[in-house]
Every structure is written in C-alpha cells, then in structure tokens.
Symmetry: C2
Subunit: 304 residues, 2 copies
C-alpha cells in the first residue's frame, strides 16, 4: 500500500496506539512512526519490544515534522496534551484522537489547535480488557468500525486521509456528529460497562458468597461481566465523567426497565418475561449477521 | 471407562441433554441412552442426527428399566414430568436433574418420588446461548463445575454414582445445600442475565438510536450483553420465577450500588470511580487463574 502519511506521531503508547503501530507497519501506511509516553517505564518497554520506529523522550521531539499526530491518551488529559504539543505542530499537520467520547474531546482540543493545523476526531470501536504497550496487536481493528466526527470547517481532503488510515488498518469507517456519537456509545458501550462494573462490585461485597465461590462458579453471564469490568480504570473514569449526560440518561432508562422486570418477577408475570426475552434474541441475530461477533458454541472461546 | 450406568434416560433433548449424550458416548459412561422430547419435531431431529441410542415416543418407554433418569426440561415443568414418570421408575432408579435453581426443583420433584427411587439434584454450570437438540457437543462440560445438592436421606452411594457421571463428562464436582446454591447462582448467573436482557431491551427501545446502529457499533460491552440475552426465553423465565427471592435480593443490592456510581458520575467524583474500577479487576484475575476463562486478546474469540 502507498503510505498515507510520511511521519505519524503517537502520543500515548497503550493498547490502541500500540495496535495502530503494528497495523500501520503491517500495511505500510507511514514511512516513520514516532512515539511518546509520559512514563519512563512505558518508553523503555516500547524500545525493548520495537514499538514505534523511534521512541522520543519529549512530546516536542515526537510531533516535530509529523504530518499526523494521534492523541492516544485518556480523555481527561487530551486538553493538556494538545496545549503542550501546539507550538511544535508542522504546517498542515493533522491531529486526530482515539477517545471514546467526542463532544468533550472536541471542546477540549479544538481551542488550542493552531490555525495551520487540522483536527479530525476519531473513535475506533475496538479494544480488549488489556492495557499497556505490550497489549497491542495488528489485527485489533480488522472488520471493526471506526467512527469519524469531522468538524464543519475541516477540508474534506484531511478527513479523507484519516479515513484512508483507518481503512488501511482494516476498519470500516462511518461519519456522524459528536452528540449522536456520544449517545450511541452510551448505549452500546458506556452504560454496559458501568453496569458490568457494578455487578462485579456487588458480588465482591456479598459476604455470604465468598470471592472464591464467585470465581469458581462464574458461569456464562458473570464471567462475561468480569471481563468487561477488567478494563482500564483511568480510561473508564474519564469516559463517564466526560459523557455524563448521555450515560446518565441511558442508565435512567435502564433502571426504569429493570424495575419493570423486577416487578414481573415479584408478581410472577411469566408471559411478560418470556415476551421480553424473546424480543432481545433478534438483536443478537442482527449482530451475528453483521459480522460483528461469531456464533461459535461456548461463545467462540478456546476451551481451557 | 467402565460404564457408570446401564441405561440412562434423557427427558428433554435440548442443549444440556444433547451435550450429555455426546459426552456419555465419548467416555463410555452408559451401555444405552434412551431419549424423549415432547415435540415430534425434536424427536425427529434427534433420530436424524443420531442423538440417543433410542428415541422413544413416550416418557414411559424411555424410563422403563433405566437406572438413571435425567430431567433436562425447563424448571417450570419438572413437577409435571416427575408425576408422569413416577409409575414407571425401576426399583433403585436414580432421578437427577440439570435445573439452574435447586430449592424449587427439590420441592417440585421430591414429593412425587416413589420410595424405591432416589433423587440426586444436580446443576452443571455450563451452557451457550444456543438451544435445541442440534446445539449440543461433548466438550460442553469439560473443566466446568457441576454442583450436586444431595438430600439428607439419600445414600452416599447414589450420590457417588451421579458424581462419577459428571466427572466422566469432564466436570469438576462440588456439593452444597440448596439455599446456598440458589444464592450463589443468583449472583454469578441469574442477576447478570436479567441485567443483560434489560440493557438489550433498552437499546431496542431507544428511538433516537436505530437498531442498525446498535448492531453495527456494538463494541465490547453491549455485544457481550446481547450474547447473554440470546439465551433460551423459556428456561430463563422459569429461573427467575423459581429463584425469585435470591434474584430480587441481588438485584436490590445491584440497584443500590448502581445509584452510588451514578451519583459519583453526576457529582464528578473521579476518585471513587477509579477506586471502584480498580477493585473489580482483581476478581477477573482470580477467574483466569482458576482456569474458568482464557486471557487471550480480543476475548479469545476467533476474529471474523
């Protein structure tokens, strides 16, 4: 593939950035990738495993002469990072991000962008419960969606280059506005994560059921929740604090619905429960038909 | 392996019964397995795919001369099935079940048991979101737990034979009392399932987010919930109606905890959220160390 960018700078070297690097290398999407992480330990790890063509000790060094800068840091520190790199951005540089919320990131980043640079917000819908520079792999974005949230005044040409990068990484790309993005993600990701964290917390608190019982007898259901609830705490703290309104709205609807189902259990309304559980099966079929999950027995997992 | 039973009768031919049959055959645990299902269609399917050595058109025929009868039907019909088979049980026959709740099943089955037979309640903690006679596979129970809930007056010898069957099917076996079983399962399985059904229902109701968006952009989190929420509606209706008290207790605690987290989001208490999310990671590590799930990237799933 023809390189889409000459030099890509990764700010932050966690799961997403490291997967992007391996994917960029797999497809030849850039001539050089520089990388920066705040902690010495992460930079040392990156150098040891060959993550990035060049690991830099300062953000300034990493972004100098980069035609794409990727903000791959928790949403809560995007503003500070943007302020720090702004003076060193090259003429015509594109800044993009991988944050899970978009309205907040745009309001945090956009005001600090120099007029000679462009900002193309992005959000790859891919991840695992693992974090850190050693957790990345080139296939993470294959057949997953990446949502772009272009600003009104950004030239189509710059948006197209970011799209080409994500398509080169194996993703499908869609565009939508920031508020709609944040609502859709509150439904499909943010509220489910909070619910999973909550359920795992409840289990841990319950003194009459020991942790070892919870662990041994974690059937399908709870086991899946624990996987979700093992995701990076800093990332998720920031997601909830910066997509507060949409998340709280969905959680409000969730609680309302949960109360209706609890009431059906209490009053013994089996017909209501059966109809509800039948309806939710259809959505599952849709996801499998859309190729976003496998239909293999035992959830497609290898048996241990 | 030496057969543990001479003739095993499967009443109900869904995911669990069909997996038991293939597992019994794999390990040579019985000389003959008979099978019965209420619907003509299920019996026809079973005959076509070779499920059971002999598929019978009546329960009576299936249980005659069986030394083990497995009640593999939804919890809500256990009592009726037990009433129907009682007159035909052989001298010394063991009846067992695979129901997800135990207090209710014991009170439904035990009163109808003839004095010359024994009841050994059991619950294999294994399953997939698929149901029906074609969904079974011999490996379903490998390295999973099966919980036995022996009654006080059951001779140890009969309990040991049921244990030997489950160990032969590849499971680990533990024993506990019925109330404790029902509470542990409310935490590790029943409440999580209701929560997943609820969240999928909320997504389906939300008019501003289309179903196709929910399906396309179902990242980790919601996608896992849809898998859980695709489980058999009849089975789950019966579970909630028959483990009402423990499920409602856990859901009450869950709601309380969810409100505390919602409040932390609303008031911007990032420290509380971060501490909570850090604590839940430890349980996940425990599950992986206990061999009850894999630690593979992308949740160990094959990439589509």
């Amino acid at each position: 593939m023809e390189p889409v960018f000459n030099r890509v700078a990764m700010i932050g070297l966690g799961l997403i950035a490291s997967s992007m690097f391996w994917g960029i290398r797999r497809a030849g999407l850039a001539n050089e990738v520089t990388g920066y992480a705040r902690s010495d330990e992460t930079r040392d790890t990156a150098r040891r495993i060959g993550l990035c063509d060049r690991v830099c000790d300062t953000m300034q060094e990493a972004v100098t002469n980069a035609d794409l800068v990727v903000l791959a840091v928790p949403v809560g520190v995007m503003e500070q990072v943007m302020q720090d790199i702004a003076p060193y951005l090259a003429e015509g540089a594109i800044v993009t991000d991988v944050g899970s919320v978009k309205r907040h990131v745009i309001s945090a980043v956009q005001p600090h962008l120099p007029s000679h640079a462009h900002f193309v917000p992005a959000h790859p819908l891919a991840g695992t419960e693992h974090s850190g520079p050693e957790s990345g792999f080139a296939e993470l974005f294959d057949h997953r969606w990446c949502l772009l949230v272009p600003l009104e005044d950004t030239p189509a040409k710059q948006v197209a280059r970011v799209r080409a990068l994500w398509e080169g990484l194996g993703s499908y790309v869609d565009e939508m506005d920031a508020d709609h993005h944040d609502l859709v993600l509150a439904v499909t990701s943010h509220a489910p994560h909070l619910i999973a964290y909550t359920m795992v917390g409840v289990a841990d608190d319950l003194r009459r059921v020991t942790d070892s019982e919870v662990i041994k007898y974690s059937a399908a259901g709870f086991r899946d929740f624990t996987r979700i609830a093992a995701s990076d705490p800093t990332m998720w703290r920031d997601v909830f604090l910066t997509n507060k309104d949409a998340t709280l709205e969905i959680l409000g609807r969730f609680t309302e619905e949960l109360f209706a189902l609890q009431r059906a259990i209490r009053t013994g309304d089996g017909d209501m429960l059966h109809a509800y559980f039948t309806r939710t099966r259809a959505i599952r079929r849709g996801i499998i038909e859309a190729g976003q999950d496998t239909d293999a027995p035992n959830f497609g997992r290898e048996r241990s």
